[in-house]
């Protein structure tokens, strides 16, 4: 990131290669719309370049990146005026890893569909904490920096999000 700040274009390519996948999947699961997630991915990395002067090495790059992504995603949700629950019906998330057993694969897909529906019903605040913890692999301290909260509040939110999912999805037996 420091190299990018000094105008080294190759550093941007490295940052993109390293982080675009986890960032895109965070956005996709948060927004649940592929086109919007791709649009946001592009916006986030453009902002990384445009605001490179404001980056301080005291924060990890991932924290900074996800803070930008989270703020843009919330802005987009606000602008869209469409509530998250009424977003398009396309299933963009429930894609399980291939399983050799077809029956188990069908089961897994069904469970993931339920999970996706349950995720849609979480509040955006719960959803972002859950996604940042489970998929972006951020620590509580990092998540707290991203969402502008405290590690204790992150812990409580994550617990509530998981409990809510558990209640909605039920037992898989």
């Amino acid at each position: 990131m420091v190299q990018l700040r000094d105008g080294e274009v190759a550093a941007f390519d490295t940052l993109y290669e390293r982080h675009h996948r986890s960032l895109f999947n965070f956005l996709l699961r948060f927004i649940v719309d592929r086109a919007t997630a791709e649009d946001l991915l592009q916006d986030v990395f453009l902002r990384v370049y445009l605001h490179r002067e404001t980056y301080h090495p005291t924060a990890t790059f991932r924290t900074w990146l996800f803070t930008i992504a989270r703020n843009l995603a919330f802005d987009r949700l606000r602008q869209a005026w469409v509530t998250w629950e009424s977003h398009n019906e396309d299933r963009v998330l429930a894609i399980p890893d291939p399983s050799p057993n077809p029956e188990r694969r069908v089961d897994a897909i069904e469970r993931l569909k339920q999970l996706e529906d349950a995720l849609r019903q979480l509040s955006p605040g719960q959803r972002e904490v859950l996604l940042l913890s489970r998929y972006a692999g951020l620590s509580y301290v990092e998540i707290a920096q991203v969402v502008g909260s405290s590690p204790g509040a992150v812990r409580v939110t994550l617990h509530r999000a998981l409990a809510s999912l558990r209640k909605r999805v039920g037992s898989g037996g």
């Binding site: 274009v9 996948r21 997630a37 993931l112 509580y140 994550l158 617990h159 898989g172």
Partner: protein, 214 residues
């Protein structure tokens, strides 16, 4: 540890955020509390299920478009800021040295005479001067850019030829003072065209090849 306290840290346990002592206390409590074990098993099931979502890649065109946009922004910033010109000064100065050195080995008048003999009658007189000027811009800049061998955006590559022209103009004009007006214009146009051709197109093409071979 009580059930309420244990329940509050289940998520931390799953996301591996517990301190070793807290973790030990939780495991001890779980050994003796079937209801907490059941609750944790349910949450763990969700945690594992969440992990079964496969990551997907964005469309490759997104990355390509983004890289193009950023390269353009980088080049624009480098072109507009004074600091961005410093790296281009060295190739430009080297180009000037080579061009001046070439003019010592082969003075402007001598090359113009050779060009005149080669194409005499086929092109108008200013065209002969243009050809000669082209040589003093093209060869030095192409050689310098080839030696630098770095892949740069077009806007960035235009800076060395521009600086080259600024630096060499006094010398070139002084050497050509005795030329008639159209001939002087032709020579300077050739010098400019050669510098841009060498610095932007030819030098970059060779430079790319060198970079790939490395």
């Amino acid at each position: 540890m009580e059930c309420r306290q244990a329940s509050e840290i289940f998520a931390s346990y799953l996301s591996d955020e517990l301190a070793p002592t807290e973790r030990g206390e939780l495991l001890t409590h779980l050994d003796t509390c079937p209801s907490c074990r059941a609750e944790l098993a349910g949450l763990k099931e969700m945690w594992i299920l969440l992990g079964q979502w496969r990551d997907v890649e964005p469309h490759p065109a997104i990355g390509r478009r983004l890289h193009r946009q950023v390269r353009w922004l980088v080049a624009r910033d480098a072109f507009l800021s004074l600091k961005g010109w410093t790296p281009s000064l060295v190739p430009a100065a080297l180009g000037v040295l080579l061009s001046v050195g070439l003019s010592f080995l082969m003075p402007y008048d001598a090359l113009i005479e050779i060009c005149r003999r080669a194409v005499g009658g086929l092109v108008p007189e200013p065209g002969v001067f243009l050809m000669a000027g082209l040589t003093y811009g093209l060869l030095p800049l192409a050689m310098v850019m080839w030696l630098s061998g770095r892949r740069r955006p077009v806007l960035w590559r235009m800076k060395s030829p521009l600086l080259f022209l600024v630096l060499i103009s006094p010398y070139a004009i002084f050497q050509c003072l005795h030329f008639p007006g159209p001939a002087l214009a032709g020579f300077l146009m050739g010098l400019s065209f050669g510098a841009f051709l060498g610095g932007v197109a030819v030098g970059q093409r060779w430079g790319n090849r060198m970079t790939c071979e490395r």
